[in-house]
């Protein structure tokens, strides 16, 4: 009785009210999390340690220990190589995409002629590079032919980036940096098409920064350049974290490893091996993300 009274009293305080409402707000998510995520997730862990065969009544699951994991690493010829390739790609692409999308979001937030038109164009990759369209795009024959034609006529194109490389090397820039940047120029479509979501998130973030901050900095004599480093960057830094997380996951979901996992599971009907691969893949994303978020979250600025 006494305990209930105490509980009632604590719920009447502002903090208690907050906790109560927090529980209510969180309830739908928690239900879904348990039923539609935790249950299937633990089942897939169970699958990864077992051999699965279709039987007369549903499926037969027999425990086989680490056999599936060992098979993924030592027997399957593609898995190791594709995994390493995917990880390397991510390490190269993530910083490029983040810097590029922040830069573009800042530009798209400025006032200029045709701004809304430009914004609608930069949203297009979100539509074009998702789901079924991305899959179909890679099999389009007409596209392929046209690309061939463009490559024949596009000799000047390749020369351009070659020239750029030479100029930068002569100027004494480090060779690795030069190769990194020219590589980025050559993969510009890939980068643009992967940064649609990030641009939009940054754009929305920049718009929640209050204009007073910029006004004050202008009155105090700050240039636009200084305002970017001292106001825009710290204020959008929570979203840099969001975008890094999103970019890593997104590039993983495009990686060839995902196709491999799918084909092992649904074409060869080896659900056990497929689950084991999915788990290795998932643990390696975890590792990269933990490293990434740990370094970034130290610099992130929150309104507390």
């Amino acid at each position: 009785m006494n305990l209930l009274k105490q509980l009632g009293a604590s719920l009447r305080t502002y903090e208690g009210q907050k906790t109560l409402w927090g529980m209510i707000f969180l309830a739908p998510w928690l239900l879904g999390f348990v039923f539609f995520f935790l249950v299937p997730f633990s089942m897939s862990l169970q699958y990864s340690f077992s051999n699965i065969e279709p039987g007369t009544d549903g499926i037969n699951i027999t425990f086989v220990g680490f056999a599936n994991f060992i098979e993924a690493f030592t027997v399957n010829t593609n898995f190791n190589r594709q995994m390493l390739e995917s990880i390397l790609n991510i390490v190269i692409n993530v910083p490029l995409i983040i810097i590029f999308s922040l830069f573009l979001a800042v530009i798209l937030n400025q006032k200029f002629f045709g701004r809304s038109f430009a914004r609608s164009i930069f949203f297009l990759p979100v539509i074009l590079a998702s789901g079924v369209i991305l899959n179909l795009e890679s099999t389009s024959l007409v596209q392929e032919i046209n690309q061939q034609n463009a490559a024949n006529g596009g000799l000047a194109n390749a020369l351009g980036s070659f020239e750029l490389q030479r100029i930068m090397l002569r100027a004494g820039v480090n060779e690795y940096i030069v190769l990194y940047l020219t590589g980025a120029v050559e993969r510009i479509y890939e980068i643009v098409s992967q940064s649609g979501v990030q641009i939009l998130i940054f754009l929305a973030g920049i718009q929640t920064i209050s204009p007073q901050l910029y006004e004050v900095s202008k009155i105090e004599g700050a240039t636009g350049y200084e305002a970017f480093w001292k106001i825009t960057l710290p204020m959008v830094s929570p979203l840099i974290l969001v975008n890094v997380v999103y970019t890593i996951i997104d590039s993983f979901s495009r990686a060839p490893v995902t196709d491999l996992i799918m084909s092992v599971g649904f074409d060869n009907f080896n659900f056990g091996l497929s689950s084991a691969m999915a788990w290795i893949y998932f643990l390696s994303i975890m590792l990269i993300l933990l490293l990434g978020t740990y370094t970034i979250s130290k610099k992130v600025f929150y309104q507390e």
Partner: protein
């Protein structure tokens, strides 16, 4: 005299920046638009133009034949309505449930337990959908909610081949990429100054009122972002739609089976004679038809992005 005044350093800098900005945006826009322009040019071409060496962009004989074919084979109007219904229902439910969860994580719960739960949200983003697909499928085929439903009806419910899997998962903020939306909302709510919340409390608003009247309007850009993403991704999603829906027609399933249906339609199943280039051509037309509604919707929505600049004056 006027010329000299115009040539100050400030002005030159401004003009130079405008020029660079214009070149940059125009160039990148071209990179993005190139595949679409190519699709449009392919869609209005007559099949005979495909092999003509003099036709690159502008066809010699215009035709709407491709559109007609694609519309009739995809059963376009019915598919459009189905997809629109599915995408809008899931979008509304997902946005609502994710906003609530995001606010709870950002401001309401401060204990160690809530941090653990938030790690759960991150987990839902990280785990690839392929990992949980098979158990999920079984779960939905014999849906029992841990044995609660059989207590009332005596048997489990088969939820496959209906919209229920989509509605249930989006209501509980566990649909396609919902973890990301919760994450976006959390980061946005954290960015809103605490002083506003405290001011609302001092003025006598409860927690619920503070959320609905103060915090939600301030997070308007986040809402627009989430609505846009979840709509587009649901529209294009072929992963869940092909698994959960076996007979219903939505855009993604129609689009992925378009080439097969087309060759059936043309040669009555004898696909050996069908020209693969022609199939690819009609498929491009189909893609164009399916993204067209999205582009139109975006043109209406994107003005809210601009509007929210003025709205954000409330903050701070």
């Amino acid at each position: 005299m006027n010329v000299i005044r115009l040539l100050t350093l400030e002005n030159i800098k401004k003009w130079l920046w405008s020029l660079i900005r214009f070149v940059l945006i125009a160039g990148l826009s071209f990179v993005i638009l190139y595949p679409i322009i190519q699709k449009i040019s392919t869609a209005i071409k007559h099949p005979s133009d495909l092999y003509s060496p003099i036709v690159v962009w502008i066809p010699e004989t215009y035709t709407l034949e491709n559109f007609k074919n694609a519309i009739s084979i995809m059963n376009y109007w019915e598919t459009l309505w189905n997809t629109f219904l599915l995408a809008s229902v899931t979008t509304v439910l997902t946005t609502a449930s994710c906003a609530l969860a995001g606010y709870a994580f950002a401001r309401l719960l401060k204990s160690k337990g809530s941090k653990l739960l938030f790690a759960g949200v991150i987990l839902t983003i990280l785990v690839p959908p392929t990992t949980i697909l098979i158990p999920m499928y079984m779960n939905l085929r014999e849906f029992s909610m841990l044995g609660i439903i059989p207590l009332f009806t005596g048997d489990t419910v088969n939820l496959l081949d209906s919209y229920w899997p989509f509605i249930l998962t989006s209501m509980t903020a566990n649909s396609l990429k919902a973890g990301l939306y919760i994450f976006i909302f959390t980061q946005f709510f954290r960015g809103i100054p605490k002083a506003i919340e405290e001011a609302a409390y001092i003025d006598g608003a409860g927690v619920g009122k503070t959320f609905f009247r103060i915090m939600l309007p301030n997070a308007f850009p986040a809402i627009v972002t989430v609505v846009l993403f979840s709509f587009v991704w649901q529209w294009n999603d072929s992963f869940y739609t092909t698994t959960y829906l076996t007979s219903s027609n939505v855009m993604a399933t129609q689009l992925s089976s378009l080439p097969y249906n087309l060759s059936m339609h043309l040669d009555h199943g004898d696909s050996a004679n069908t020209d693969p280039f022609y199939l690819s051509m009609v498929q491009d037309t189909g893609i164009l038809l399916s993204i067209l509604p999205l582009i139109i919707i975006y043109l209406f929505v994107q003005r809210y992005f601009v509007q929210s600049v003025e709205r954000s004056g409330i903050v701070g």
